[in-house]
Structures are given as C-alpha cells and as structure tokens.
Symmetry: C2
Subunit: 380 residues, 2 copies
Amino acid sequence: MEAFTFYNPTRISFGVGKIKDLGMELNKAGIKRILLIAGGGSIKQNGAYKQVLDSLGKGGIEFREVWGVQANPTLAKAQEIVSIAKENQTEALLAVGGGSVIDTAKAVAAGVYAADTWNLFTGTEKIEKALPLYTVLTLSATGSEMNGNAVITNSETRQKWGIGSELLYPRLSIIDPALQGSLPFKQTANGAIDAMAHILEYYFADDKAISTLAINDALLRTIVEMADRLKTNPSDLLARGNLAWSATLALNGISGVGLKGGDWACHLIEHAFSALHPNIAHGEGLGVIIPAWIEYMSEKEPARFLRWAKNVWGEENVSRGVHRFRDKLEAWGMATSLRDLGIKEKDLPEILSLIMTTPRIGAVSKFTASEIESLLMLAY
Amino acid sequence: MEAFTFYNPTRISFGVGKIKDLGMELNKAGIKRILLIAGGGSIKQNGAYKQVLDSLGKGGIEFREVWGVQANPTLAKAQEIVSIAKENQTEALLAVGGGSVIDTAKAVAAGVYAADTWNLFTGTEKIEKALPLYTVLTLSATGSEMNGNAVITNSETRQKWGIGSELLYPRLSIIDPALQGSLPFKQTANGAIDAMAHILEYYFADDKAISTLAINDALLRTIVEMADRLKTNPSDLLARGNLAWSATLALNGISGVGLKGGDWACHLIEHAFSALHPNIAHGEGLGVIIPAWIEYMSEKEPARFLRWAKNVWGEENVSRGVHRFRDKLEAWGMATSLRDLGIKEKDLPEILSLIMTTPRIGAVSKFTASEIESLLMLAY
C-alpha cells in the first residue's frame, strides 16, 4: 500500500433530532455570534430551519442569516457573504443545507482572511486562517460535511475550481437522515451518483490498497442498494441513514487511503459541463461521464477495471459492468448521455476548451485534448 | 441506523520510513522535552529505535527513555512512569511499540494529572487533562494507535480494566509496515485475531447499520486474507500494510458506527484469562472465546449470526462458519480451546468469579454467572 496521511478532525453527530444539541455545542465552544448560511428555502420545508433556530435560542447564540446559495455555488455569492461576515464580526459560520451551502461557507470561512477570495482558488494566496465552521446537512452527496474541500464557480471566467485545507474541516456536522425524508428521488439519485463518483475517482488509482478497495466495493454496493430502496420508498429512514453515512465516507478520506489521491479526471470534465450549463446537476453529469471514462480507459487497460465489474456488479467483464451501471442510472431516471443532459454537439468545442484550462486532467491516465474529445464523443 | 457520534482527531502517517518526520512534527507542535516509552527491546531489532533517535535529533527534541512495558501491561509500570514523567516535566509522551506500550502511555498521559492513576479506571477520578501522546506502532493489533482507549492490569486486584477519553487520542501515530516485517507469525496472527475480535464485538449488536456491516465484512475478509499471505511470506510488505490499516480501522470508530457501542462480553471474559495467566496473548485468548460465544449465542438467535457465516466465510449456516473460523485459527497454529491455552478445569471457578467482578457482561445478551459457566465449558 502506498504511503498516506489520514487526518479528519470533524465531529459527526448523526441521528434524528440531533440539531437540538447544536446551540449548546456552540455555547460550550465559547462562540456567541454566528452567521447562518442557507440556500433557497428548502430548510424551511424539511424542518431543519425551525430546529436550528430553537437550538440556537437554547444556546443563547446570536445570529444573522444569509440566504440564496444556489446549486453550483458562485464566487460572487461567497464574496457577498464574506463582506457580511466581516461587517458582523462573525465568530463562526453555520451552513444549513447541502454541499453547495457548505462549500460556500468554506470559501467564506477562508475568504474573510484573504485579500480576495478567488486568490485562494488560483493559489495566489494561501489559506492561513479560517473561521470555525459548523454544518447541518440536508442532502447527502458531496461529502463536504466531513472534509476540508470546497468547489466554487467563478461565473466570469466560467471556472469551477476547488480549495482544500485542514483549516476548512467543519468542527461539527449534524447529519439527521429524517431531514432528507421528503427529497424528490431525482435529488436522492444525484446524491447517490455523486457519492459513487467520489469512490470511483479513487478506485482505479492503485490495486495495492487491498483494504481500501474492499471497503470501496462495500460502499458502492451499499449506495446502489440504498438508492434502490429509496426509489421504492422515499421515507425509508434506514436506507436514508445508510446512504447518508456512505456518502460521507465516500469523501472523508477513508475511501482514498493508499490510492494516491485518486484520479479526478471525471470531476474536472463534469465541472466544465455545469460551469457552462448551471442547471446540470453535478451527480447527473458525473453519471454521464464516468461510465464513458471507464469504457474508454478499460480498452487500454482492461485488468484495472475488472475488479469493479465483478465486485460491484457481479459481472465477468468490464463492458457488462458498464452496461449494468448505465441500466441502473436509467432505472433511476437519470441521464446516460450528454444529449440527455441537454448538451448539443455544437457545445462540445467550448466544453473542451474550458476543460483544457485545467493544468492537468487525470492521474491514472493524463488526458490530452484529442483524448478528451474522443471521450466526450463516447459520452455524447 | 442508530444515532451515533463519530470523532477521531488522530493523524496517521503511514508508510515505510515515515518515522523520519517525527522529530520535526514534535518541533512544529512546540514540544521540546519528551518521555520515550518502550517495551522489552524489540524496537532495537526492528529498526524503529534507531530511526526514532535520528528523527528526534533532527527535530532538536530532548528525551528520556523508560523501558520494560510488558504484554498485558500493569498499573505498577504505569505508576512508575507517571513519577518519571512528573520529575522530568515531560511535555509529551512518545510510545514506541505495540498496544501494551501505547496503552501504558495513555494511562501515564492521564495519570500525571490524577491523584492516583487507578482512580481513573475505577471512575473515582475523571480524566480532565492529559499529556499529548505520539506513537510509533510496531505491532498492529489493538488499534490503540487511533483511539482514546487503554486497558491496564492491576496485578494486586487482578482486574484488567479500561479507560477512554477524547483527551487520549494520539496526536500523531506513525504506522510503518516494514517495522513488522520480522515479526514471528504467531504474533502476526495474535494481532489479526485481536483486530477481528474488535470488529466482531460490534458486528452482532444491530443489523440496521447496513453500511458499517458491509465495511466490517470487507475488513474481516481482508484480515484473514492478509494473515494467510503473511503465514506463507512474513516479509510480504503489501499484506503487512493492508493488515496494519485494517487493524487500525477495526477499532478507530469506523467499524462501530451505528452499532450501539458493541457487545464486549468476549473481551471482558478474555481479560480474566490473561489477568490470571499473563502469558496468554490477548489475541489468542479471544480466538478461543469468540467462536464459543458465537456458538452459544447463535443457538438462541441463529438469524443474527447468519450474515457473518455467509459474508465472511461463504457458508450457509452458522455452525459451518464457526467451524471455518476455528479451522483457520488452527491453520495459523493458534489455540482453539481453553485447554490449548494451558488453562486447567480447576482454574475455571476462579476465572468465573473474576469475570463476575465486572458490573455487566455483554450488551447483545447480558450474561449471568451460570451462562458464563456454560460458555467457559463450551470453550474448554
């Protein structure tokens, strides 16, 4: 197994009703004034908002609210919130929502100490300090609740880029599966695909991490099984909980142990789709590109992909595995081609040139522009 | 899935030669004077000691050494080290060794702030503060390198009891699989059984933690597979590494997520064996009691144990699974009965009365004295 470092100091509080402890946790940490960051209002429907307000009240925590973080969250929004956080001398941030809200909060947490938030993404400035971050997760997908990474879109340059720092691990993340009980299946499936994608970005990087790969097989099978259960019964709380925890493990470091940091070509490619078409859900975009990537790569190196076909899908060859993967996505009502995503053939050159602004695409195989073109055609 | 809290702030540095960074890590943390705690001298043979000295030198770290921690480590030794740590105004502890050395270091870390170290075990005093702890692991087994627990034997009262605190998580644990390359297979197998035992203590507690159980299946299979490989080739570094990481995961919280804290009857029972016969290795003792416990329990509740037989051993019923487990232990040259361990039938009443000094034995099923007697006879 390759050398690795594992470090993840986020505390997870998992279970129905766990928000009730939030206010006292903040209080115990000596925090008095926070900024609550949220999305478009779904947390008023799912009950999270009311529970958060009650809990903050019990802990005697002063707070201000900022709403309006959208899917594929933008730099502009993060910058707006940075100003508010500075004005209010915010002591900590509380993200209540899914990955977009949490990622925005991370950009803000570091951004308040930067000359310009985008500098942290380009690497012009380093993250030296960050506000403490607390989260209440309402959509299991990105794993952002238990890692130090964030991805933000700069709408002007159309770059969807990331930051990562040990300073950005949430201090505490609350995962209450009941908050996800009313999600439409489409969103659940997006989350499930995103979680699978995180595991798969690591999965093919090295066959020597035997223990990690065995865990990853287990997680991939569990995610498919739980999503299937939720398609039949969206209020299956047991499936919600196990899907939620699997999604957290998919990107909290455990699934990547000994796997050389993973590949991440598919994520870079998908980021170009959703930077150009912000209405494309990240999970659905990944569901289109990953099977195409496996197909493309396995022609060169079939042995590397056989384990996945066998252990996750019970198939004896890779193309059968890819077939089963796409069938599953279709059964979940998800796109299986760029066409399904609403991308037109004439968009491909622009997507390609956007992808090529990234210094390096892929680790398992480093892609050239013409290879990405072939890959996009395969996904089209 | 049951509600749970997950928190594990230990940093793991895994890989061949990783000790070289230790001195600078201590230095960066502002630590200048440490106490190095070690066992009987095996770290001089496996190369760990020399690498540690070099690294401490590079970091400019002053240190004193205490040697002589033994398997089934004693309170008396911990108390001796507490005095030395106090005299030397030690700023941090460095445990170089296996679980016994690390557990002793944890008892010392908390013990220097206690009126009496044993009070922390009986609960008379609470752990309010502890010295920072760093570890270099030389035997993968107990998982102590990545948790906040320690078990110590009070030779006077013959109680082998434990403590647990968030303050006792090591700050940094270095796992270099090459240090374990010269271990006799017997010790490797003891470690493998100990790691399996930790997973199995959680495994049967609840069937609703679907994601955790899938991971636990994966870990149990991996541990058996890696131990088999190491029996054939002790210097198989890849198997060493994957066994090492599996053993860490077996007791760092991951394997217990949503499993209600586990059962731990077998550990309590085994602690009585080794408290009376300190020459019995913890892993080997567990290998005797666990299959007997599964046999005993599965007569009452077969369904609970069937998953294990199927997913770990590929068997269709529990007794075949138990059979396969015992066959494996035998193939590894390990004891499969109390008799094999050198325990005599006349010792059983004393063992029983020692076990019964624990307030509660088991969570899946709470054992009475007569049930433990039956269980011991089954294991005899």
